[in-house]
């Protein structure tokens, strides 16, 4: 559905995207993860044909981008990072206005609007102004708007950033329905639980390149020991020095927390019973551990 080969883009001498390869299959939910400045947003803009790459090729639903970007965008729905609903229009009018940009007739849009309102749970808000909507409602409307022309593939740039947990679950529910309906989805996110929950496969980007690609579970299994014990409290430094090398397969101290990666958490927990000043948290390893291992813990601004 989407094939990207050797994509490069530089701005003023800085290479933002450096030889990116991606392959997204039809009907798949694909995640693009990466720290700030990894090149996610630039990659999305390249895929949409909004900017031209310096090198490399993009083929979207069999259409060459950016050469035939207009045709390609007929098949793409976009949910941008920042809400840009039309504040001068009501909910329903937003859908109509957006449909017209795709060259749809009034009757063709009218035929889809009830379904879109229903999908986004906004049927009772059809005539509300945008300013009256909550953050979650705006996001759902943006998602519905992206579907007005019934695209084959959907691009979502951080679809749940800034939403409360209830609103996030509603968006996830909507996305799962779309996946079930056979849509192809490409999403960027900072939330590892979101990526783990939704995506079939994902790529972690850093410095404009794919660092690793695969299904979330298999990435966790192949890169991280099965269990993590996070240890913190008084006397952590001495304890780490004495016990960590023996007990953990791999360990890392970040700030005031020791991350102990291990196959058998029980022995670590047993040892911790002799250090009552220390507290700990035992959990299975997750995608965030993979992400931090591969992209480092430095703050990216």
């Amino acid at each position: 559905m989407l094939t990207v080969r050797g994509l490069c883009k530089q701005y003023g001498g800085t290479e933002v995207v450096r030889g990116l390869d991606l392959n997204v299959r039809r009907g798949e939910c694909f995640g693009l993860l990466g720290p700030n400045g990894a090149g996610k947003t630039t990659t999305l803009r390249l895929l949409l044909g909004l900017i031209a790459p310096d090198a490399g090729s993009i083929e979207l639903a069999g259409i060459e981008v950016p050469k035939h970007a207009r045709e390609a965008r007929m098949k793409i729905g976009v949910v941008p990072q920042m809400d840009n609903l039309d504040p001068d229009f009501s909910v329903r009018e937003n859908l109509f206005a957006y449909g017209r940009y795709f060259g749809m007739s009034r009757s063709a849009i009218a035929a889809r609007v009830p379904m879109l309102l229903d999908f986004s749970g906004l049927a009772s808000k059809a005539d509300a102004q945008i300013a009256q909507l909550s953050g979650g409602m705006k996001r759902r409307l943006t998602l519905a708007r992206a579907l007005v022309h019934d695209p084959d593939i959907l691009f979502l740039d951080e679809p749940t950033t800034g939403l409360d947990p209830q609103a996030r679950h509603l968006i996830w529910q909507g996305l799962r329905r779309l996946i079930a309906a056979g849509k192809t989805i490409v999403l960027t996110t900072h939330f590892m639980d979101e990526a783990e929950r939704l995506t079939d496969r994902l790529a972690i980007l850093d410095h404009g390149r794919v660092v690793v690609e695969g299904a979330p579970r298999s990435l966790i299994e192949s890169h991280i020991e099965p269990a993590v014990v996070e240890v913190f409290g008084e006397g952590l430094a001495e304890w780490t020095q004495q016990h960590a090398p023996k007990l953990c397969q791999r360990f890392e101290t970040v700030g005031e927390t020791l991350f102990c990666y291990t196959g058998s958490a029980d022995t670590v927990i047993e040892a911790l019973k002799n250090a009552p000043s220390l507290r700990y948290l035992h959990r299975p390893s997750n995608l965030e551990d993979v992400f931090l291992k591969l992209t480092g813990r430095d703050l990216r601004d």
């Binding site: 909004l50 840009n84 039309d86 017209r100 940009y101």
Partner: protein, 261 residues
């Protein structure tokens, strides 16, 4: 440089952009019309009759007629300028409406052509309102000749719409537009023969005036109000088209840099 001044790649998809602006305008049409048109009309009627009663014929016609012809061009210029500065800036920068549209199969060329044609539409409305007053007060020489003012008004809207889009492209905020008004629009109003004939100005100011687009607009509009055929029609038309087109092409590239880099 060649890249910079490339020809726009246009498609008919600019029409939904125009349509969007029309629908929004329609919601508030009555107050918008009154707000936009009251100002030039009050100036025209107040100065035209008040000041005009003290004056002999100006440029070979009663002052109210002289001023009415200037006001057609001047209010048209203002209508287009306000539209592409404040309103387009809101849509581009504040509301991010352009960003949303660009994710559909439209290019920036289309979006800005939609804005420009919308500015022309607003100009037409503004020009027609002044023209209606001219008709109503019988300030014209030949009715059929005044109909030519309608395409002239569209041309003036195109010219100032294109120029204004350049300011829209480079402006960091609304405040910046004040410079455009004090440095470009106000001098234009004073130098191009809206309120008094350009021939009253010192030579060097007349030389400057000859290059300003509003002069070309007024040189077309005033004879048409009086009922004579304007001199140098091709020159004036070409100047207005040239200013507008150059403005649009430069604005397009500057906006591309602003939004997509």
């Amino acid at each position: 440089m060649i890249e910079f001044l490339r020809l726009p790649r246009l498609s008919w998809r600019f029409i939904p952009v125009w349509h969007r602006n029309y629908l929004v305008w329609k919601k508030l049409a009555i107050p918008a019309i009154l707000g936009n048109l009251a100002d030039p009309m009050l100036y025209m009627l107040g100065l035209g009759y008040g000041l005009g009663s003290l004056l002999p014929d100006v440029g070979g016609m009663p002052y109210i007629t002289f001023l009415a012809a200037g006001t057609v061009a001047y209010s048209t210029m203002n209508a287009a300028t306000f539209e592409v500065l404040y309103s387009s800036f809101s849509r581009m920068h504040v509301q991010r409406t352009w960003d949303a549209i660009l994710n559909a199969p439209l290019t920036l060329d289309d979006v800005m052509m939609g804005e420009l044609t919308w500015a022309v539409s607003k100009s037409l409305l503004s020009g027609l309102a002044i023209l209606a007053v001219i008709w109503g007060l019988g300030l014209f020489g030949n009715f059929w000749m005044t109909l030519w003012i309608i395409p002239v008004v569209a041309l003036v809207g195109f010219c100032f719409g294109g120029l204004g889009l350049v300011m829209n492209a480079v402006s960091p905020s609304y405040d910046f537009f004040l410079y455009y008004f004090t440095l470009v629009i106000t001098p234009m109003v004073l130098l191009c023969g809206v309120f008094f004939p350009v021939s009253q100005l010192p030579d060097f100011m007349q030389a400057v005036s000859a290059w300003l687009p509003l002069t070309h607009a007024i040189d077309l509009a005033r004879p048409l109000v009086v009922g004579t055929v304007p001199d140098h029609i091709a020159l004036h038309v070409a100047a207005l088209i040239a200013y507008g087109s150059l403005g649009y092409v430069v604005a397009l590239e500057l906006t591309r840099r602003r939004l997509l880099k």
